[in-house]
């Protein structure tokens, strides 16, 4: 069973209602936050079911603008609803910020009514084939719904079923289309992708790649992105490179001289970190992954983020606040989330002592004293 990651990611227990209105428990097989997809499996035996009807998957590359499609789902909880519309666009691109991010695919845009609760539901063509997974709607707009193309989903399903996760390679390059660069250089025949950013300590940085270079070939495959709609394709190519292996990149340097480097790909970091709730202190912490580090512009030494705070808790009283980085406890640096959790479980939460936290927001620190329970 296919749905959105944002539907299933925090679920502890999943119950599905079939079209027969029968309720069946399900388990999560795998999640892929990068494409916002999740694969679940119904526990048919538990409900004494042998088989259930299932949907056929279509080919989203064959979609055309104007084609009539149907969206199925539970908009605002109104289960088993169907709405109809046309394909408004097959190559909608959103930049890399906000929750519309989807680095590896373009979105299918439809004017079929899509509301909260439609998420994870299918977008089907008139042959009854699933062509997309409805995932987003623009709430202040009208009839602006977005679906993940089923061809993207097919790849993700395969990976999740085989490995339980989608393994992606990372080289630490952010890309930009070359449309304006071509005009600037007055080189109408230029092909390639412009490097706009190199991540710190990435394979690309170590190999000497720099912003401004134009990459023409990755591991033997020619790349070209004249328009930004072509960028997901390039990112997909990089992400599907073998992890931990040497690959070759051909590029034009600042003088447009052809060059090549080899670098060893790394596994892409986690989309978001593990979260842990410190019940006694009254806050939750989250691992700072490279993605979060970049997003909040944190430094390498920032490891643990305070992701939530319980009202009226000792932590709130001490002045701890959500969004701050946890730097030190009793003058000892917080090195990583596992170390913190271990220390918290074995010591802090039960030693009844005062603990002095050093938290940081931006460049400003604050000491927060969490008071231990008085021994009486």
């Amino acid at each position: 069973m296919l749905t959105n990651n944002h539907v299933a990611e925090k679920a502890r227990f999943v119950m599905c209602t079939l079209s027969s209105k029968k309720e069946v428990e399900a388990e999560v097989v795998g999640l892929d936050p990068w494409t916002d997809l999740a694969v679940l499996k119904l526990k048919l035996e538990k409900s004494n079911l042998k088989k259930v009807p299932f949907a056929r998957l279509g080919d989203s590359d064959q979609l055309e603008v104007g084609q009539v499609v149907l969206a199925l789902g539970s908009p605002l909880g109104l289960a088993r609803s169907l709405s109809m519309g046309v394909i408004s666009s097959v190559d909608r691109y959103f930049g890399q910020s906000g929750d519309m991010t989807s680095p590896y695919n373009l979105w299918i845009q439809t004017d079929a009514a899509i509301n909260p609760g439609n998420s994870g539901g299918p977008l089907v063509n008139l042959d009854g084939e699933v062509v997309g997974i409805n995932a987003r709607a623009i709430t202040f707009g009208e009839n602006l719904g977005f679906a993940i193309p089923i061809n993207t989903a097919k790849y993700v399903i395969k990976q999740l079923l085989e490995k339980g996760e989608v393994e992606r390679a990372w080289i630490g390059v952010e890309w930009q289309e070359i449309k304006d660069l071509k005009a600037y250089l007055n080189l109408p025949k230029l092909q390639g992708v412009l490097i706009r950013e190199i991540d710190e300590n990435s394979p690309a940085q170590k190999a000497g790649l720099r912003p401004g270079f134009v990459v023409t070939e990755i591991n033997g495959q020619k790349v070209n992105a004249l328009y930004q709609e072509e960028l997901p394709k390039v990112r997909l190519l990089v992400s599907s490179l073998p992890v931990g292996q040497s690959i070759e990149i051909k590029f034009l340097d600042e003088n447009l001289a052809p060059q090549k480097v080899t670098l060893i790909t790394e596994k892409q970091g986690k989309f978001s970190g593990d979260e842990y709730y410190c019940a006694e202190w009254g806050f939750s912490v989250k691992e700072i992954t490279p993605r979060i580090r970049k997003h909040f512009r944190l430094t390498e030494s920032d490891k643990v983020l305070i992701s939530g705070i319980q009202m009226g808790s000792p932590a709130q009283e001490a002045g701890v606040f959500s969004g701050a980085v946890l730097k030190k406890i009793d003058n000892q640096p917080v090195k990583n989330i596992d170390q913190f959790i271990t220390a918290y479980e074995n010591q802090y939460r039960k030693d009844n002592k005062d603990h002095l936290l050093l938290i940081k927001i931006g460049e400003v620190n604050r000491f927060a004293l969490i008071k231990g329970k008085k021994q009486e």
């Binding site: 910020s97 950013e197 912003p211 460049e363 000491f367």
Partner: protein, 471 residues
Amino acid sequence: MKWILQVSLLLSLVSFLPAQKNWQKIFDAYSNKIVTINYYEQILSFEEIEDKERVKRHLTGIIVDDRGLILTSSAIYPAKIEFSASFNMMASAKIPTEIKVKFKNGIELPAKFIGKDDDLGIAFIQLTDSLQTVGVQFSKTNKLNIGQEIFLLTHLPESYDFNPIIVKRRINSIAGGNEPRYYFEKNFSSLTNFGLAIDASGRAVGYFYGGDRPVVNRLPFSGISSGGLAQIVLFNRFAEQVKQPPVFKHKQTVRKKWLGIYMQPFTRDLARYFGQPDLQGILINTVIKNSPAESAGLLPGDVITKINEQPLVAEKDSDLETLRQIIRNQKADTVVLEIFRTQHFVLKKVNLRGSPISQFMAEEVANPELDFSVKELTRDVILNRNLPPDTKGVWVSRVERAGWADIAGLQIGDLLLAINDVKIQSIDDIKKIFKQIEESKPKFVKLFVQHSGNTRFIFIKTNYQTRRGDE
């Protein structure tokens, strides 16, 4: 019972008559020493590379000497001179223009902006014609008491023709230790939250102001305010400024002293945690990079116990103001701090410097062809945009709407890292490259910018050949 009523009536009459006389006396003595000031404030525009719109505003002023020096609210120039973590973004860096002072007798005279003190919420202007004026003689009263009667002299809003208004209030609350703040309930309409404060015996004791709320002053109808507390500042706190007014010289304005730390109260709980239940002081939580505090070797976690042998005590946030004021108003360049660190006391000599400038004082360079402006990076921008503390360069301060840069996608706040592959490290770099571009008139200009942490290239399509307007 009748005689009681008669006596009390008689008594009230006896007490009423001198009181009325008192009001009149005070009003007559001071109403010719308060003036209305009108001026034009430039309105900041991010969408134009020049501030084109302006608005006329009115304030109350107090004549303070015989050479035409007038004390008024710092609202006359809302832009901050010194860096601070929070500032009013919507202020223009341009000083007020066409200042005119209107006296009680209706005469209107031009004046110029001298300078201001943001800590005190005051500014000074001076009549441009050399003219003998009669200033308020302030008494050296250094203390007000709770419940003490106080007269407040200011002006009514425009809808009441800026008529002078005299109001009697009582001191309702006194806060702070060494430099007490005297609050009263300011529940009357006035042109601004600023005016003269006079005690019951008719002595001018200082000015009142409605606290530091610059945003309120930017709104229309800002003159009409009611409710809330205002505070009285006694003459001893601003006598020096009257004698020697702060002079505004853009970047070169003499700024107050700066240590470069963030601090928090060292509470009893913290003292117990540190194993020193009787220790009092101020806890340093942050030492700003490249600051006097960093050079002196101060560290987060240090407790400042004394400054120049004066003990420091901070149990709550408002207590931190004491140290802040000592530092900011320090005459000497060096102070000695006593620090408690890892169970020992150490003395640290700190060479204070002037506070860094705010983004308003930073040099701005506009390129009217490419249609954007840049400013040198100041500490407040670095803090606000969460940039690494040692970031060098310039940032995009304005982008003209529908100009070449806007069309290419340049945004306000972008950090400009390079133009045409030339690295930009300073405002001088940008001037040089702007000049080159102006001469070579290229078809495209390539920018390398950083926008909320991400870098990208922007290609500005120019149109030097076809002037705008001819297209």
